[in-house]
């Protein structure tokens, strides 16, 4: 499979990365080089094989559903580029 320039723009938008028109062709070439490289996986017989989702067989650990942390709003906001009181400030989301 290979991507065309419309797909490159669509992927960039899904990735929330702005791209210039002048970049599309170069990105298309790079992405297609990577896709050509991974294409070899289509020759592997994976019939009946379970997908591996965890590197080692382990039970997901569980803990009691109780508050173990919190009350650190100042710390959480300490690195925000724009904040007001205990809020992150973003551009208008809804007109």
């Amino acid at each position: 499979m290979s991507v065309d320039s419309a797909t490159v723009r669509r992927i960039a938008h899904l990735s929330r990365i702005a791209i210039e028109d002048s970049e599309v062709e170069r990105l298309r070439g790079e992405l297609n080089a990577i896709l050509a490289f991974v294409e070899t996986l289509s020759e592997v017989d994976v019939e009946g094989v379970e997908p591996l989702t965890s590197a080692l067989p382990m039970q997901m650990k569980k803990r009691a559903d109780v508050v173990t942390d919190g009350g650190i709003a100042d710390e959480i906001l300490a690195n925000a580029p724009l904040r007001e009181d205990h809020y992150f400030v973003v551009p208008k989301v809804i007109e």
Binding site: M1, A18, L31, A33, L52, L56, N79, P81, L82
Partner: protein, 496 residues
Amino acid sequence: MSDPTHLSLAEARDALKSKQLSAVELAQAHIDAISKSRALNCFITETPEFALAQAQESDARIARGDARPLEGLPLGIKDLYCSKGVRTTAGSRILDDFTPTYESTVSANLLRDGAAMLGKLNLDEFAMGSSNETSAFGPVVSPWRRAADPDAKIVPGGSSGGSSSAVAARLCLGATATDTGGSIRQPAAFTGTVGIKPTYGRCSRWGIVAFASSLDQAGPITRTVRDAAIMLRSMAGHDPKDTTSVDAPVPDYEAAVGASVKGRRIGVPKEYRIDGMSAEIAALWDEGVAWLKDAGAEIVEISLPHTRYALPTYYIIAPAEASSNLARYDGVRYGCREQGRDVSEMYEKTRAAGFGPEVRRRIMIGTYVLSAGYYDAYYVRAQKVRSLIKRDFDEAFASGVDAVLTPATPSTAFAQGEKGSADPVEMYLNDVFTVTVNMAGLPGVAVPGGLAANGLPLGLQLIGKAFDEETLFSLAAAIERAAPKIELPQPWWREG
């Protein structure tokens, strides 16, 4: 003491204990070396005051007989580990002046055991790279030079290139690193140092900037096998804050260094003899076999039939996980922000400005393979092939093999700008021997095997059973004893 930066970590530990050397002297010697070695660009942030304050506390503890396991030993910390109160960049512009309000579990474990932090080490941006050339803070230079071409700037490998270069240049006794597809072992092999990626789950990932969470693992880079064993013992251990960290006791790895390897069965996988393998790499591998045989190990040929699919599988799974993990860099909670007319434009402009080209490329590939219509064809298929890669190892170990011996890299280090500028896949091929280990979650260690004809180091890799790092330390130590001694480079790079 002549120059304490020439001591191994174990020797420095013993010199401090016997009071031949003070922790402040040891820290100051490294601080001086770092300040004269900025040409290598190993550190993004130096923290000399922090290291000296810790050294003073160490001297006080040693004086009152209250020394901890790593008391007074100065280390470098890869700038992917969050350091409380110290700027942490992940090698990216997008994090700007991010200053964590918390300490990563692994670096906290090292500090708990008395180590001192000299600073934050350079790396490929978000650990994506094999040469440290993708860092937003400039490439790291290796202290090694080609005999015939001493002016070429040699890469220290990646992504832990600041770690490997700083350890080889004696700017720290050891360094933390991380490995997602080879980022500990490949830089170690390129710089004549020792690097171990432990079993997935052995070290906590909490507080380490995430790249591909099912593959990422922390580990040390050091100048000797013993030093790696000492550091890993402190770094490893259960952490309730990482659900994938394993609740099992941490062995005394140092005790495994020097243990006999008589009767150990070592698998040599025929699939690693790839097309076009250089005669020098093939010869190194044969020597490794001979050294282990001389030490009493038994060598058997094994087959890992899905080896050639590991790298393509990695370039689906790692970008897919990265595209999810890096979604958090949106200009809202930390890092830089570019203005936009609305929130969506703000995200897009921030991410375009903050991420470098390799990171943008991987996010886009990951987004594509996870998108509707392609998810099964790419991502689920890659996860199935990953099962087959792991099964190959399971079967080899079930047949009675204790460890697997391979070359660590397909070549020696190259010069800046030599690889990957036209085709990103050319750079990816560096990890062809290391990436299988991350796929299967196994431990792997790179250990120096000697110098190539061009004067640059070559490394061998040993792969172990899950949670059997001890066997790897014993075998790596046997190779270290048998291999020709590597003379670290003279400090041509020092100013003043």
